[in-house]
Symmetry: C2
Subunit: 318 residues, 2 copies
Amino acid sequence: MKRVVVAPGDGIGPEVIPPALDVLKFFHPDWEYTPVYLGYECWKRTGDALSDKTLETLRKADLILFGAITTPPDPKYHSVVLRIRKELDLYANLRPVFGEGFDILIVRENTEGLYSGIEWKEKDRACTLRVVSEAGSRRIAKFASACANRRRRHLTIGNKANVMKSDAYFLEICMEEAEKTGISIDKKYIDALVLDVLQHPSRYDVIVTTNIFGDILSDAAAFLEGGLGMLPSANIGRHQALFEPVHGSAPDITGKGIANPIAAIRCVSLLLKYVGERPLAIEVERAIQKTIAAGIKTPDLGGTATTDEVGREILKNL
Amino acid sequence: MKRVVVAPGDGIGPEVIPPALDVLKFFHPDWEYTPVYLGYECWKRTGDALSDKTLETLRKADLILFGAITTPPDPKYHSVVLRIRKELDLYANLRPVFGEGFDILIVRENTEGLYSGIEWKEKDRACTLRVVSEAGSRRIAKFASACANRRRRHLTIGNKANVMKSDAYFLEICMEEAEKTGISIDKKYIDALVLDVLQHPSRYDVIVTTNIFGDILSDAAAFLEGGLGMLPSANIGRHQALFEPVHGSAPDITGKGIANPIAAIRCVSLLLKYVGERPLAIEVERAIQKTIAAGIKTPDLGGTATTDEVGREILKNL
Ligand SMILES: CC(C)[C@H](C(=O)O)[C@@H](O)C(=O)O
Ligand SMILES: CC(C)[C@H](C(=O)O)[C@@H](O)C(=O)O
């Protein structure tokens, strides 16, 4: 039995999460599902984009299915997602990118680096502290090495150790941890890595890197899949995980019933892998492929189907 | 009259710089040309990758034509290029990327941000200070706005102000400076920007961003031109500028006489633009295009010509 907290959020979040939830409930009708309310709309109505009570509910979850957030204009509520990552210590951000001839897993350190929040303003300059801790580096290195060990046993460490001592430190720790598992290891400067992933994606298996480099690299890699629209992501902590489509709240198409639910449904596939139900995860992916092949597609993929129609078809194909 | 210092460096540097120099001398036989010796080979022979005397010579130059450097294994000499940028305060790094239907100029702040060199190690973590100064931001913003003003009058400011206050500061100063010129302004988070440049390059004119974001963005954008092989770059200071092909020293093909000299020759084109001789710069680019169209190409472009043959043909086409 798992406790699943469902946070549809704003925009198309409440449109794409229900079909994803249907898929999850198809496999696990008996799990406990708790909806929570957060984000921009929540902020407009309650003055709080993420209340303490909601945070408590999230803390108690085993699994969180997250839609999308429209950033409230109030800088105090700048990033609900960042706050959740930090509060729940969701230290590993996973972004799988795969297509014809490539299958890459980007493992991004998700709690420190330039996201330390240690910042200050001096008279004539603004500073942000980039923090690379031993513990933070070691746990992400272990995590990524373990992922590689279960896949094609190759790890690439994205870094800028030629410029920053903090990355020389990150690299050293990653090498140490990766060597313990006996996988093959490659290190690459992040600028060259971004280009090489675009040019030769089939050469990569798992890539581990620091927070903001992972942020940029995963958007660049999304180019290989035709953009962010269909990509899921996972934010993994010690005892729980949050799954979130990479696309945003898409206010331009909100309310039209035409949002593509595939990224959200792929989140369910990631979630199933996370709980160890790999065969079910593969079944979800196969049902998605079959639906696309049958031409049941939302307008972003050149089809005329609605969110519901795509969702229902995927469910039928399970 | 200009003082040109020529630093071929290592690897294919000494192979591609001579044909580039031929092109420059074709237009300006009367300028003063001074060769200097630096880099890995220099370090092996003299124990110093960049001597004080060489640095003095570079300081007195109006223009520097730079080849490539092989990084010496000695960490003390880690980056000759970074040291020159810092010592000569070459604050603007320009990377033009253009092709069928797009013509983008990336203007990268070249002296601060994560390249501050302010770093320390604590017991269990390593820190690098990201510094965004008012003066540094203002001069790069002015520079980029002036570039946009001479081109298609559009500036995109790449930032991560949703995460870092130092980038909110950078963004604010860039907006201020850009607004003074009346060009149209766009701001974009760096992750989304990298993806959008790949997907819709024609939407961009000038892009300004901080040091490491520019580093990554320009390599990603190189994908649009098929890689780094043919791209030139400029590092601009208050009174002088250094021009450098983006490709490295390429030890694998060194000594074979088959290195593509086009990136180096395009550096001359950038140099000519920098000194205000735009028509000559365009002539160089045209001679390059004509040479490629005639099939006189090095192996990396699928041809069989040598470095010298390509160089001579470009010279003939001027
Ligand atoms: C919205 C933003 C703060 C976030 C990040 O930078 O991590 C986003 O880009 C992401 O990748 O999840
Ligand atoms: C070699 C390296 C230090 C350098 C940088 O990071 O600036 C390079 O990537 C560049 O873009 O010129």
